[in-house]
Symmetry: C2
């Protein structure tokens, strides 16, 4: 079976980098610094659908993503989550939160309307340059 | 430094079991089958505050918790998350979701008012018995 990215993830986020296991993507919403990890493995819905070795890789890539978020925006708090109620393909959110953001202290999911970046590709380049410093 | 459980976690959830790293707790809300893992390590706020070895233990305990949720309620979808916007102590949610639940397809955090179990200790015993079968 071949890996396909869910069309909603494709539409709402931009590809930043591919780690060994996951695609790192930027959600195109300037209200929140919001990264998404998508394991490039076919038919993964739940965390437990990943093999043990894939989970270990995921863990390393999650740590890199948390470090990237930290140097990118120095969040007050990091929110992690994998819901999949609307997009069943397993994807994991790593979101920087601030006491001044629109959803604080609630969760970001389902909060208001996404506000795209004026130049999303510029953000992607910023993230790629920061990744090189990790 | 000594590990202390945050008073809000203490008040809202019940101790079920202690794995090697985490305390497994049941959120006392009959609207959602909701388990919480709390690493019994002092001063952990973010995922990245855990040492590499602790993260590996966490991963194993997360898998057990997902398996426990599965045999407990056979959820339609499992939601995972670590927010900490209100309770900074690192804690990780493992929640069984159904298309008929009160918050579907939104997140459970911040949804309505918690509805305690009529006999929460009975649920705890059920979970302990199921843990023995894993």
């Amino acid at each position: 079976m071949t890996f396909f990215l869910h069309p909603r993830l494709e539409a709402d986020s931009l590809w930043v980098h591919s780690f060994g296991l996951c695609q790192l993507r930027l959600l195109n919403d300037q209200r929140f610094p919001w990264l998404i990890l998508v394991p490039q493995v076919a038919e993964v819905i739940e965390w437990t659908d990943l093999e043990a070795e894939e989970q270990s890789h995921f863990l390393a890539e999650l740590n890199w993503t948390c470090d990237l978020l930290e140097i990118w925006v120095h969040p007050f708090k990091t929110n992690l989550g994998a819901l999949g109620n609307l997009v069943p393909q397993f994807h994991f959110h790593v979101i920087g939160r601030f006491r001044e953001d629109e959803a604080w202290p609630g969760p970001v999911w389902g909060c208001g309307t996404r506000l795209p970046y004026p130049d999303p590709q510029e953000q992607v380049e910023t993230l790629r340059n920061l990744l090189l410093t990790l």
